[in-house]
């Protein structure tokens, strides 16, 4: 055979430099370094400490779960807007089971509360999986596009969370030690049991996304659904798995919220979907599907947290917490703009 088909050769050094500039991870690391320096100066030296990192990770652990969940969904070319209200609903149902169902209250704490906390995790997970299954039903059977299907469940689940909780937090048994950072030989680490669990889940999810058939089909669906079906893969079955994974992780994020606050509250997940989508987009996941890596998501989430937490520590000017949402929106727009520029640069 002729070598006409072999017309592209090994990349030159210049190509390599260009490629690394287009590489989302390189951009994100550079952004993180700059942000770290800026906030370190603006906070008069309190930003880059283990204590700050511990607080940041503890505050944002549930968001990491949602970003991971959203990654799988967005790579298939879909979107899951219902994750925030799933967090609310699952934490509320977990609280309801303990408080109303088992008539327990917050007087049970420490080690004695562990079995109940595990029950709360299980309940929240089941609630999340159910919401995911409902989303899959709307998308596969009723043929509603993911944006609208999950917008509908988003509204419905957040309403359900208010109805079940009566609009008030349900305070139940909890072991707050789970969220307290470990101290090893007198040195405080930025990691608590809950944060460690989140990080382990993230690593496993990353392995599944990049190393297994499940991940491959996730990319394939977002890349070319027609080719995927033609290859003998059932798109509906995989869509179901992906939305149930998203729901399940949102359920675990609900459990995280319950453990962090010791209560199931209908406001636990308010607005979280915006952050989850922001983290994935900043992390280099294309909303068109088929593109994204877990390392990018991890870095994207870190950029988002750094900005959010850093702004609170700025000493020279007072930044209103309400401004945070505006900044997240700007970050999403900027990230998408960068993606578009990178794509156009490639052509």
């Amino acid at each position: 055979m002729g070598n006409s088909i072999q017309d592209s050769q090994a990349p030159s050094l210049l190509d390599k430099v260009k490629t690394s500039f287009r590489n989302q991870s390189v951009l994100l690391v550079a952004t993180l370094v700059i942000l770290g320096v800026v906030f370190q100066i603006a906070s008069e030296g309190i930003f880059l400490t283990t204590g700050t990192l511990a607080t940041v990770l503890n505050d944002w652990g549930s968001y990491i779960l949602l970003a991971v969940a959203q990654t799988f969904v967005v790579i298939t070319g879909g979107i899951d807007l219902s994750v925030g209200s799933t967090v609310s609903l699952s934490s509320v149902v977990a609280g309801w089971v303990l408080v109303q169902g088992l008539h327990l209250d917050s007087s049970i704490s420490g080690d004695a509360a562990i079995p109940y906390v595990l029950l709360a995790v299980l309940v929240a997970l089941l609630v999340g999986l159910t919401v995911g299954a409902l989303n899959a039903f709307l998308i596969n059977i009723l043929k509603i596009v993911p944006f609208i299907a999950t917008l509908a469940t988003m509204g419905a689940m957040s309403g359900m969370a208010i109805i079940i909780s009566g609009g008030m937090p349900l305070q139940g048994p909890n072991d707050f030690n789970l969220g307290i950072p470990y101290t090893v030989f007198g040195v405080q680490l930025p990691i608590s049991t809950t944060v460690l669990t989140v990080l382990i889940i993230t690593v496993i999810a990353g392995l599944y996304l990049h190393k297994t058939r499940f991940g491959l089909y996730t990319y394939a669906l977002g890349s070319n659904p027609f080719a995927t079906r033609a290859a003998g893969i059932s798109p509906a079955r995989h869509i179901t798995k992906v939305y149930m994974l998203s729901g399940g992780l949102a359920g675990l994020a609900g459990a995280y919220a319950y453990i962090r606050l010791g209560a199931g509250s209908p406001s636990n997940g308010a607005g979280m979907e915006l952050y989850a989508i922001a983290a994935t987009v900043i992390g280099g996941v294309s909303l068109m599907g088929g593109v994204g890596r877990i390392i990018g998501i991890a870095l994207g989430t870190l950029v988002l947290f750094t900005v959010q937490s850093g702004l609170l520590m700025v000493k020279v000017v007072q930044v209103s917490p309400s401004l945070k949402q505006v900044i997240v929106a700007i970050l999403i727009a900027a990230a998408v703009a960068v993606q578009t520029l990178q794509k156009n640069g490639r052509k």
């Binding site: 055979m1 080719a227 995927t228 290859a231 893969i233 059932s234």
Partner: protein
């Protein structure tokens, strides 16, 4: 024909609402035979391809594979029965690598517990994809490159290589030489000839009539959902073939 009939449709029909896409079409394909399927836009070629590949179920008629009546509910069943289809312009997932595309739907797993958990044998598949494509006679860049980084000709080569290397009985190629330069199209035609020698039944759909006349043994002409002529390629000339395709009320766009 010296060889046995490998794939056959009898009297198949397919309607999309009020539109009759296929109207009682019958077609026989023998092992080691290349049949050209031609017709104007809207003649029903794509619909017939989708019926043959299991992507669509016909409203009426029979499908027989090696003389046994079959019903395809999805493309997977046809694939598993040994029928490979290369769809026009959309056979590959651009974000996946060459080897991921070649093995899509037929992945190999690592040995042991990780394989059971769904972990893929990436290196093995890359090596095998490379060997398979070479065996088909297709030159291509490294099998761990994303398909989106390949040229149109390279993509088509990979798509055809994938179909040929997996096909066990029937190979359906929908416009495989579209958008290809003369040299690359020539390579594709060579691949088709080799597939025929392997004993596969090949259905070749194309608008490029010189390619059809060069590579096929028999040409089936579709017009408005009906088969209007089914004859050995030697009985057609370029002119009579065009005349049969356009018919009395056909249009050439």
């Amino acid at each position: 024909m010296p060889n046995k009939v490998i794939y056959e449709v009898r009297n198949v029909s397919k309607n999309y609402g009020a539109v009759v896409a296929l109207d009682g079409a019958s077609l026989k394909l023998h092992a080691g035979e290349v049949v050209g399927l031609v017709g104007d836009n809207g003649a029903g070629k794509s619909t017939l391809v989708k019926v043959l590949s299991g992507a669509h179920s016909p409203d009426g008629g029979e499908i027989l594979l090696e003389g046994v009546e079959r019903t395809w509910h999805n493309p997977k069943q046809a694939l598993e029965a040994g029928i490979e289809t290369l769809y026009q312009d959309s056979g590959l997932a651009p974000h996946l690598t060459v080897s991921q595309n070649v093995f899509l739907g037929r992945e190999k797993f690592t040995k042991g517990i990780f394989g059971k958990l769904g972990f893929l044998a990436k290196k093995q598949m890359e090596a095998e994809a490379e060997a398979d494509l070479q065996a088909v006679g297709i030159a291509f860049p490294s099998s761990n490159r994303p398909v989106s980084q390949l040229s149109g000709g390279q993509r088509q080569a990979v798509a055809i290589g994938r179909a040929v290397s997996w096909a066990r009985k029937v190979l359906i190629l929908d416009e495989p030489t579209n958008h290809l330069g003369a040299r690359q199209a020539g390579e594709v035609l060579e691949v088709i000839k080799r597939a025929k020698k392997k004993g596969l039944g090949v259905i070749f759909i194309s608008h490029t009539l010189p390619h059809v006349l060069e590579v096929t043994d028999r040409i089936v002409v579709l017009r408005l959902g009906k088969i209007v002529r089914d004859a050995p390629t030697s009985e057609y000339t370029a002119d009579t073939l065009i005349g049969t395709i356009t018919g009395t009320y056909g249009s050439d766009e």
